[in-house]
């Protein structure tokens, strides 16, 4: 039982991957690092695990500096994106492996493994080999191997992103309910923002070199501090409209957006006058028939450019005089290409970013 602290961690090969990354995961906290692929998330995990050596900075587990300690002495458990199950061993032996390494006696091993296996609902598979079980079962087995030895820190590398949607839901539920995971410091890495929002007690959004913003799921989604964060959380991606300040409005080609007094205050004294306006698609809707925009909404006329019905909802991209805006619609709606529509945008939901720095105002 321990907290994980990462201070000023640097790692690079031909180019820097991590550049002074700071991170603290409290004991019992589930911390999710989310970011696009290839940004260095796995490198971070491998450094904490001890599979790579840090160029600079320190990693502290439960007050002990482990930066220069080899992986097998760190008491850190990790699941790999590829599961990394030992193909020549049965599921039982795979799960028992950390206990064997710790020279646990065999009665204790039997007990612990069967506990973990029943917790993960893989008790029927203990005699099989990894080649004979499905992807979801492999992941449970890999998870069992990390859970069994009561490590100080859990590291989970994209554990569910390669699985089918349905098994993803099941395993997400599992992560929510596994007390063992919720008791220690867990560092979970994923490129899927919805996993991050769903699972994380806190989330860190990773950009190049380090974490761009950390906070609770709601903080990050509702108050992104940076264009990068806004773009990386949310599906469909947030509308980012390049605008210029024009008095009390923001103007883009073909559209001008009214601002509330509070929003105008934010713009006071802005130098370049270039603002990236972020609007989440769920704050944009298409008005039906003669419907009038509600309070706090601004209406725009435009024509449908793309319409995607996805079952649970539909996505409509509307061209409002040269500016494209994505709206979320009901699954039953039908729109034709070029159809004239009116979109209502919730003005209170605007996110204003400085175009140059990418920072929120």
């Amino acid at each position: 039982m321990a907290r994980l602290e990462v201070k000023g961690l640097c790692k690079g090969w031909d180019f820097p991957v991590l550049d002074g990354l700071d991170l603290t995961v409290e004991e019992g906290e589930f911390f999710v690092v989310v970011g696009p692929s290839g940004i260095g998330k796995t490198t971070l995990l491998r450094l904490v695990a001890g599979l790579e050596t840090a160029d600079a900075g320190s990693i502290i587990v439960g007050g002990r500096d482990v930066t220069r300690i080899p992986p097998y002495k760190r008491n850190v458990a990790m699941t790999f994106e590829s599961y990394a199950l030992y193909p020549h061993m049965t599921v039982f032996k795979n799960i028992a492996s950390p206990l064997v390494a710790r020279k646990t006696d065999s009665a204790e091993i039997d007990k612990r493994v069967s506990e973990v296996a029943s917790l993960l609902q893989i008790d029927q598979l203990l005699d099989r080999k990894p080649g004979e079980i499905s992807g979801g079962q492999k992941q449970r087995c890999a998870l069992g191997r990390t859970l069994v030895a009561n490590p100080d820190v859990f590291l989970l590398d994209e554990p569910i992103s390669h699985l089918d949607a349905k098994i993803r839901h099941e395993l997400r539920e599992q992560f929510h309910t596994l007390d063992a995971l919720r008791k220690v410091a867990t560092l979970y890495v994923t490129h899927d923002y919805s996993e991050a929002l769903s699972l994380g007690d806190r989330i860190g959004v990773m950009g190049s070199g380090g974490l761009v913003q950390t906070g609770s799921p709601r903080e990050l989604f509702e108050k992104p501090g940076d264009l990068f964060v806004a773009r990386n959380l949310g599906q469909p991606t947030i509308n980012i409209i390049e605008t210029k300040i024009a008095g009390k409005k923001l103007e883009s080609p073909g559209a001008s957006f009214k601002l509330s007094a509070k929003q105008q205050n934010l713009l006071n004294g802005h130098k370049s006058g270039e603002i990236s306006l972020g609007i989440r698609p769920q704050n944009v809707r298409i008005l039906q028939g003669d419907e009038k925009p509600g309070r706090g909404h601004q209406a725009f006329k435009g024509s449908v450019d793309i319409f995607d019905a996805l079952g649970a909802h539909s996505i409509i991209i509307v061209d409002i005089g040269g500016t494209m805006i994505t709206a979320l619609g009901s699954p039953d709606a039908m729109y034709e290409y070029g159809q004239e529509v009116t979109v209502a945008v919730e003005t209170g939901s605007f996110h204003l970013f400085d175009t140059k720095t990418g920072k929120v105002l």
């Binding site: 599979l51 790999f80 599961y83």
Partner: protein, 279 residues
């Protein structure tokens, strides 16, 4: 591909395979029947394709000289000793090349080791003789041939083991480190079982090379130690070559490698590590 073309290709393939079989099986057949012929029958101007008279006693006659049996033992000791040494060194070197290519001298060094295998043996025959003659155990000993054959078998073992280790996912070892195993334990518990089928194949290749080697054996050993390969040409009667005895003895010498192959066949099936990762 239409059905008709498919059938045609199949027929052509069968014909080709038939001819191929003929080429490979004929020498075996010839060896077998010759081993049962009488000395006179082997020297007929018009060869017979089936023995007129069967002489199974040829197989006993080859052991008239008791030390001929010892030659098989000597060969076995040398081949086995060399195989174990090749595997041991080749596995360690192969692992180093696969996992730490930069520290282990990179592509150049590993390729240079393999290139030793391509060197024509005859070119080093004489220098090698003098070199080994200067050793305390001389040339006429088991150990000299065991070491000498390393020149050929170790590069092969190193290179092949390197390929097998490269195929064995590194992540499995890393997973073992995180389980709490030291690198050596991880290597023994995880990596070695994965490359075992490959290792068995390499072992068989090395063993067969050492078992069959004639050129160096002929020059190096002969009195204290005799390999079966240098015994075969000794079956003569004055100027007359006793083909039947030579064939009988070489048939007997074929038994160990064939048995070995049959026993270890199932380990040679590669692909244990397939489907380890993902899938």
């Amino acid at each position: 591909m239409s059905e008709k073309n498919y059938a045609l290709v199949k027929v052509l393939l069968l014909i080709f395979l038939g001819i191929w079989m003929l080429f490979t099986l004929f020498p075996l057949y010839w060896q077998l029947i010759t081993a049962f012929k009488s000395a006179g029958e082997t020297n007929l101007t018009v060869p017979t394709f089936w023995p007129d008279e069967w002489h199974p006693e040829n197989f006993i006659a080859v052991f008239a000289d008791k030390s001929n049996f010892g030659a098989l033992i000597d060969s076995f000791v040398i081949a086995t000793g060399n195989t174990l040494a090749s595997l041991f060194l080749g596995t360690l070197a192969g692992y180093a090349f696969a996992r730490f290519p930069r520290q282990a001298g990179g592509e150049n060094l590993s390729f240079w080791i393999l290139s030793n295998r391509m060197f024509p043996p005859v070119a080093i025959l004489i220098p090698m003789f003098f070199l080994f003659d200067a050793m305390p155990w001389g040339t006429d000993s088991h150990i000299s041939l065991i070491i000498l054959y390393l020149v050929f078998n170790m590069p092969l073992a190193t290179w092949l083991m390197m390929v097998f280790f490269r195929d064995a996912p590194r992540e499995l070892e890393e997973a073992a480190y995180l389980d709490g195993f030291t690198p050596l334990q991880a290597f023994r518990r995880v990596t070695l079982p994965l490359v075992l089928p490959g290792m068995v194949s390499v072992g068989i290749l090395c063993w067969i090379f050492a078992w069959n080697e004639y050129l160096f054996a002929n020059l190096f050993v002969g009195s204290a130690v005799r390999t079966f390969t240098i015994v075969i040409p000794t079956f003569t009667n004055g100027s007359q070559t006793l083909w039947n005895l030579q064939m009988a003895f070489s048939l007997i010498a074929m038994i160990p490698p064939v048995t070995l192959f049959i026993l270890l066949r199932r380990y040679m099936v590669r692909g244990l590590s397939l489907g380890v990762v993902k899938g």
